[in-house]
């Protein structure tokens, strides 16, 4: 298993710059996720790593070795495609054995190894099935087994869960993660779904319009987004344009928020679950009187949309025995935005 280093990668289609100077390091054995909206260049970058796309500038290193000039079949990079790309002219067994056969492994070894990998992805006994007889989840597992059986240095997964229904998606999240742990393989996972990224990854890189906006552990990215794009894209948040002077953030010239010392920027972000809501005034810093516009019940949480002068504030409260039915629509209440929860961007 090896680490991957991308250095100043640029990719241009026609006159459109799809990737703008990407530099990233993916450590050995890491589960690394490229997260970003559709069209931001995730697939393109993945295909560059796999050697399926030629980039104009920059270098790809695998285990410290420059592989930029190597063609795809020589790279030792396994890939699972968004549509799985299983060979329709082959059975499950033949699909999984394909890579080994090309390597000239002997028949008996192939047979045993395919058996054990079928077992690994919970498909024992599926050897002779046709691809067309498989469900989406089963196809997914065949594709996984096929790409890891040759023991590649890196495994690339391009939105592997996007074609599955919601229930199956949750199940496959776990299965993929488990498989990755068992094999200890360096994995790059592409998705546009932030909850998928947060729940599965060791590290996430957030992409937007061909730029890498931030790299970090899920908790890090969630708690400390570097800019307004990341703040908005990862998790839900209250995001406002502000003018800052003397540690005061001024929204719409009439709302003043106290900040921690020395923060600079044009936006502030505060997560809905970081805001306190209560009836009795407590005379705290950053306390405001608001009116409840809307209440939405989400199961584990209750969401309040409140009006503060001419902005809206979203607040989440845990729906436990104490908070249940605490406030009513139209009621005037107080909210508190703790200084330390406010991210200045």
């Amino acid at each position: 298993m090896g680490e991957v280093l991308l250095k100043n990668i640029r990719k241009i289609y026609g006159n459109k710059e799809v990737l703008k100077d990407i530099t990233l390091k993916i450590n050995k054995g890491e589960f690394f996720t490229f997260l970003g909206p559709s069209g931001c260049g995730k697939t393109t970058l993945l295909r560059i790593i796999a050697g399926l796309e030629i980039h104009q500038k920059g270098k790809v290193y695998l285990k410290g070795e420059d592989i930029s000039h190597l063609s795809a079949e020589k790279r030792k990079v396994g890939m699972v495609f968004q549509n799985y790309a299983l060979f329709p002219n082959m059975t499950v067994f033949e699909n999984i054995a394909y890579g080994l056969k090309l390597k000239g492994v002997n028949k008996k070894k192939i047979k045993n190894k395919v058996k054990s990998y079928l077992n690994l992805v919970n498909l024992s006994g599926y050897d002779n099935r046709n691809i067309t007889q498989l469900s989406g989840g089963e196809q997914q597992r065949v594709a996984l087994a096929r790409s890891v059986i040759t023991e590649p240095e890196v495994l690339l997964l391009d939105e592997p869960l996007s074609n599955l229904d919601a229930r199956l998606r949750d199940k496959m999240r776990l299965e993929i993660k488990e498989l990755q742990k068992k094999l200890g393989i360096t994995t790059i996972f592409v998705t546009h779904d932030q909850s998928e990224a947060l729940s599965m990854s060791d590290k996430i890189a957030i992409f937007n319009m061909g730029n890498c906006m931030q790299v970090g552990a899920p908790v890090d990215i969630y708690r400390n987004p570097k800019n307004s794009f990341v703040a908005k894209f990862v998790g839900e948040t209250n995001l406002y344009d502000v003018n800052i002077s003397n540690n005061d953030a001024i929204i719409n010239e009439n709302i003043i928020l106290k900040l921690k010392d020395g923060k600079k920027g044009n936006h502030i972000s505060i997560r809905p679950q970081d805001i306190m809501i209560y009836r009795k005034k407590k005379n705290l810093v950053n306390e405001f009187k608001v009116n409840i516009l809307d209440i939405q019940f989400n199961g584990a949480t209750i969401e309040y949309i409140c009006k503060l002068k001419n902005i809206k504030v979203k607040i989440w409260v845990l729906n436990n025995t104490f908070n249940h039915n605490a406030f009513n629509n139209g009621e005037n209440v107080f909210i508190h935005l703790p200084k330390e929860s406010i991210n200045v961007l």
Binding site: G51, I54, F87, L102
Partner: protein, 557 residues
């Protein structure tokens, strides 16, 4: 540097292929057609409409044009009724022999038209087996019917050309949403109302498409009018006459009129097809074949099935049976009495008799080979690339589809009766290769279409997946690309070969001593009263085409 060279090489190869494909299509399709157009306008003193004026000032010619259109329309009508009826018969009712009936109903595509015409003459002609039997049974001293002229031709067209309607309507019946029928029933709609408001709109596009195909083959049909048309003259037979008498300008004018008629009909129906195109709703419940419970109705249904099977099998049986008739033994008797292998022996021992068989096989192989060489790259460019002139390429490729066989033959003569730059300034008229080239032009659309379908099955990510699994380009080609696309290509090649091997129309217009094909030999044998020999040729073709067809079916699965 390495990469630059690879890029460059690929680019050169690509351009060579693009140029090659256009060279062939322009050289063998467009340029000859254009020459026919010119030939219909050119006289010693420049361009003129004289030939058209002459043509239309002759009453007989007008009759020919009217006859052609009448035959086309009548063919559409008859085949529409039969084909649609059969499609519902097979797909709407649940009956255990439906599968066999379905296969049988498709056999007429596999048998070259000229063989069927000859078989029909042996059955229903003046001294045909069925005709004589009826006379014998009812003690008639007159023929009970006359199997020639308009109705004779139409009868054969009904038998050979219902397949378009049958196939297309069968497919569209699958699109009928059974839940809408149930809803209509629920709302109290009558059976007629259900048919006109639910079923008819769903099958209308299929009817329109089949009408185009049937009309085209109806107006272009040659073997039936030629062999039993008698006084009923149509454009395709007149074209042969004009060509035989070396009036190429007249033949060209007739070709242009035939082409024009086809195009007008095509445009009209296309227009209609567009305006009626219905949005397929989200696929609901598929129609379930209905079980017939009433025993009386069941009997009627079975009788009908028996009749259909008999009608289809009878001509084929006749061909086989008559191929064993000893030469010269069946002149006066009503039924043949002496059978043997003499006709087959003759074909396989006398080289003069064997030659047509050999010619047809080799010319069809040539045509199929040419169509592969052109068709596969064309299909690839059309389906898999972003080539800018793709639209033009597509148009050139389907052009032969709008040309009846006689048109293609005349175009070939007009294009290659003088030095032609597309074939290195050679004259091809009078050479062996002209006829295979004409066959080739005729099967271009078929080849490109079937290959295109299978290329579309080849998703690009399959190639990528193969690469990331460590396959070289060669291995990917061998293990992924070829296995996936070859069934389609083979199917195209087989269908193309079948179309060529018994082809009669272009053959009649273009053959020479060196390349007399089997269809011509069959007709000649018929005129020389060597019916057994003629039928033996027919059996050989049927055997070859059915072996090929069943091989193809095996591969498709």
């Amino acid at each position: 540097m390495d990469r630059v060279i690879r890029y460059f090489k690929n680019d050169i190869l690509k351009h060579i292929i693009y140029i090659g494909v256009f060279w062939i299509l322009i050289g063998f399709v467009l340029y000859p057609a254009f020459n026919t157009f010119l030939s219909s306008l050119k006289s010693q003193d420049g361009l003129t409409l004289k030939y058209y004026k002459d043509f239309f000032s002759n009453k007989n010619n007008i009759t020919v044009v009217v006859n052609t259109i009448k035959l086309g329309l009548a063919t559409v009508l008859v085949c529409g009724v039969i084909g649609t009826g059969l499609a519902f018969y097979v797909n709407y009712f649940d009956f255990k022999y439906n599968n066999i009936i379905n296969k049988l109903l498709l056999t007429p595509i596999m048998i070259p038209g000229v063989i069927i015409v000859i078989a029909f003459i042996q059955l229903y002609g003046e001294s045909g087996l069925i005709t004589s039997t009826i006379e014998l049974l009812f003690n008639l001293d007159k023929h009970p019917y006359s199997f020639k002229g308009f109705y004779g031709i139409l009868f054969i067209h009904a038998y050979t050309q219902y397949v378009y309607f049958y196939l297309n309507v069968s497919v569209s019946i699958g699109y009928i949403d059974y839940s809408t029928i149930e809803a209509a029933k629920n709302l109290g709609a009558s059976k007629l109302k259900i048919f006109t408001s639910v079923i008819l709109p769903t099958i209308t596009p299929a009817l329109a498409t089949s009408s185009i195909l049937t009309f085209m083959s109806g107006i272009g049909s040659f073997s039936a009018p030629n062999l039993l048309g008698h006084n009923y003259k149509v454009l395709s037979t007149q074209i042969l006459l004009a060509k035989t008498n070396n009036y190429m300008e007249i033949a060209s004018v007739q070709v242009m009129i035939l082409l024009f008629t086809g195009l007008v009909f095509l445009t009209l129906l296309r227009h209609y097809e567009r305006s009626t195109k219905i949005e397929m709703s989200v696929k609901g419940k598929a129609i379930r074949p209905v079980k017939i419970k009433d025993p009386k109705k069941r009997k009627i249904y079975m009788a009908l099935a028996g009749f259909v099977i008999l009608t289809i099998i009878l001509p084929i049986l006749t061909i086989f049976l008559l191929s064993f008739v000893k030469p010269g033994t069946w002149m006066i008797n009503i039924y043949p009495k002496e059978f043997g292998f003499d006709n087959y022996m003759k074909i396989f021992t006398k080289s003069r008799v064997f030659a047509p068989f050999k010619n047809s096989i080799s010319m069809s192989l040539w045509a199929t080979f040419f169509s592969l060489v052109l068709g596969v790259p064309c299909a690839y460019i059309i389906n898999k690339t972003k080539f800018k002139a793709k639209g033009i390429l597509e148009l050139l490729v389907i052009l032969p589809w709008a040309m009846p066989a006689s048109t293609i033959a005349i175009n070939m003569i007009n294009g290659f009766n003088k030095p032609n730059i597309f074939v290195g300034n050679n004259i091809l008229v009078g050479t062996y290769i002209l006829l295979p080239l004409a066959y080739f032009v005729g099967i271009i659309p078929l080849m490109v279409k079937t290959t295109g379908v299978s290329l579309n099955n080849l998703n690009n990510t399959l190639i990528d997946a193969s690469k990331t699994l460590g396959a070289s380009w060669k291995n990917t080609f061998k293990k992924i690309i070829i296995p996936i696309i070859s069934p389609g290509i083979i199917a195209g090649a087989v269908l193309g070969f079948i179309r060529c091997v018994g082809e009669y129309t272009t053959s009649a217009l273009l053959y020479g001593v060196a390349n007399k094909p089997i269809s011509i030999a069959m007709v000649n044998a018929l005129y020389e009263f060597e019916i057994g020999l003629s039928m033996a040729y027919g059996v050989l073709i049927i055997v070859i085409t059915s072996i090929l067809a069943s091989l193809m079916m095996k591969l498709r699965r």
